[in-house]
Amino acid sequence: MFKKLAQYLVLGVFAAALNGCATTDDAGSLVEDPLNGGSGTGNDGILEDGAVIVGENYDSYNDGLHLTDVQRAKLQALKQDGTIYFGYDRDDIPERYVSLLQAHADFLMSAPEVKIIIEGHTDERGTPEYNIALGERRARSVARYLLNLGVTPDQISIVSYGEEKPQNFGHGESAWSKNRRAVISY
């Protein structure tokens, strides 16, 4: 598994070089994705109707890490409690998540090799493109908070899924309140 990840990383760097995309900009430390990988072409499967299958290999960077039993137990617990819900069109973190975020920060500082992806999500109101931007603001907001608590930038990457990955598939406020969120993903 780790070998595959290493391949991905090499391919990722290669793709970056190919695309001429130097990612050493000032905000790079915050937005750079250490799990960037996958060639995206070549070994894709094909369904019976000819559709190309993508997105199947989905390993976590942390799967290959050597953690102590205590750390592993802590990681499992944090995985169950890593969601921050937001107000409509808001990206400020509600007060009630202070202890949750402190717990994640404490763990990440105690295990500096562990990396997280913070996923930003929105409800379906607003255009998909606007929501991608809003989701990124939410993810960035959580990332900034963890950085301020002392987590190192290279442990954190962010991704915005906008309204595309709802936690609740419904189309009303009860669903929307569950979908306006950021998820700390290990």
Binding site: N19, D25, D26, A27, D33, N36, A51, V54, E129, H171
Partner: protein
């Protein structure tokens, strides 16, 4: 289409639901109703699975320009021009379409005629004949619609165009599907399926490729897929957002949104050289780029002055001008290909697809509240968008005059983010 006649007769804001299960046509009416046309069931119809008259009838009904009258319980069902009698059709019927299907050399032999009714005179306007394989009957029906529409309105028909969209079937192994189909949703073809979101399909001007966004590598990346070969090319994979690719009218560039420098900005990438040019540079969100028909300008949405409004960037001199002025937010601009104005999503109490004419006149084309992702047919006659109704997201076609609105059969799951193709090369 049973109630259509009555609806038009009432000449007020009213609705008609037609009799076919997969159709949901709503005529929003108006003082001046559409031109009355009757498409008579084709002779020999029982030999083929595609209801030719219905395809033509439905195509024309979506234009807002025509108001097809019911073709059930007609006093006669003529299949030859000389058999068309004005007295057999509803008063005010302007044109009658007739057709005949017989066994042909390559499948079926299809003949159709268009006859104008004027007082007691029935005058043959035009007609055609074609040998059509069984698999192409639907395609040929759309071509008949194209010809009729073009001859009677002098506007090129867009019934043979396609759409791309995202189908989402939550709970399935690959919930996200990038699909193309005929403009009316028939003949769906899945190009890509993914465990992770797919977004923002956009057609190359030659109609052979789609640009789109994929999260298959746990980040947003812009890809181009060749529709015929399904070969995929990754275009950008910057840190942060890589979203909303839009082909320039000359097919050489892709406008897109990147947030590699910290917040969403509009960029243009040369597809061949991969040279990147930055269009916006602003601390506020800049997103949703959309080319003007000539390619000389890019419309985009910005929060630079507070609420999201549409701005126009000149590719010629770099000037930026604000183009929407309503107090509510305006999003997702699409320039009408004929230059008649701009389609936007207007956010007031809900989200409605609206049109701003060049005069500045502004009117709503939808009224369901969660309407987004407008896309315009290449002839500017129809606009498609996504909406939520009955607890599911699906696609709607509204005529650009707002007179006719039609909900597409959703099939599995939900449909969103439609993109109308350019005219297809024959």
């Amino acid at each position: 289409m049973k109630f259509l006649g009555k609806v038009i007769g009432a000449a007020c804001l009213c609705m008609g639901i037609n009799a076919h299960a997969e159709l949901n046509l709503e005529l929003t009416g108006g003082i001046d109703s559409g031109r009355k046309i009757t498409v008579v069931p084709f002779g020999g119809q029982n030999m083929v699975s595609v209801n030719m008259a219905k395809v033509v009838n439905d195509d024309l009904s979506r234009t807002g320009i025509f108001a097809p009258t019911s073709n059930t319980n007609l006093r006669s069902n003529p299949h030859r021009p000389q058999d068309v009698r004005t007295s057999d059709f509803e008063l005010g019927t302007e044109v009658v379409v007739i057709g005949d299907i017989t066994t042909g050399t390559r499948g079926f032999s299809v003949t159709y005629h268009v006859v104008a009714l004027n007082g007691t005179n029935a005058k043959h306007l035009f007609g055609n004949h074609a040998e059509v394989p069984a698999s192409q009957m639907r395609t040929y029906a759309h071509r008949i619609s194209d010809t009729i529409f073009e001859k009677l309105t002098e506007i090129k028909g867009a019934f043979s165009t396609k759409i791309a969209y995202i189908r989402t079937v939550f709970g399935s192994k690959y919930p996200y599907e990038l699909c193309i189909s005929d403009y009316d949703g028939a003949n769906e073809n899945r190009l890509v399926v993914s465990t992770q979101p797919l977004m923002s399909p956009n057609w190359s001007p030659d109609g052979k490729k789609l640009a789109y966004v994929s999260f298959e590598n746990r980040k947003s990346e812009i890809y181009v897929i060749d529709i015929a070969t399904k070969a995929r090319t990754k275009i950008t994979s910057f840190a942060g957002l890589n979203s909303n690719p839009k082909w320039s009218p000359d097919g050489r560039k892709l406008a897109m949104v990147l947030s590699k420098d910290g917040n969403p900005e509009i960029y243009v990438v040369d597809v061949n050289t991969r040279k990147l040019s930055r269009v916006t540079n602003n601390a506020a969100i800049d997103t949703e780029p959309s080319w003007s028909p000539s390619g000389d300008a890019l419309y985009f949405v910005s929060e630079r002055a507070g609420k999201a409004q549409v701005y126009k960037f000149s590719m010629l001199n770099g000037g930026v001008q604000k183009v929407t002025h309503q107090p509510a937010k305006n999003l997702s601009p699409v320039a009408m290909p004929d230059g008649s104005g701009l389609v936007v999503v207007n956010q007031n109490s809900g989200f409605t697809v609206s049109k701003q004419d060049n005069s500045g006149a502004f009117y709503a084309l939808s009224r369901t509240g969660l309407d987004e992702s407008p896309t315009v047919a290449p002839n500017s006659n129809m606009i498609m968008y996504s909406t939520v109704s009955g607890g599911r997201k699906g696609l709607v076609i509204v005529s650009s005059d707002g007179r006719s609105r039609w909900s597409m059969d959703r099939g599995r799951g939900e449909m969103s983010q439609p993109a109308w193709s350019p005219y297809q090369k024959k």
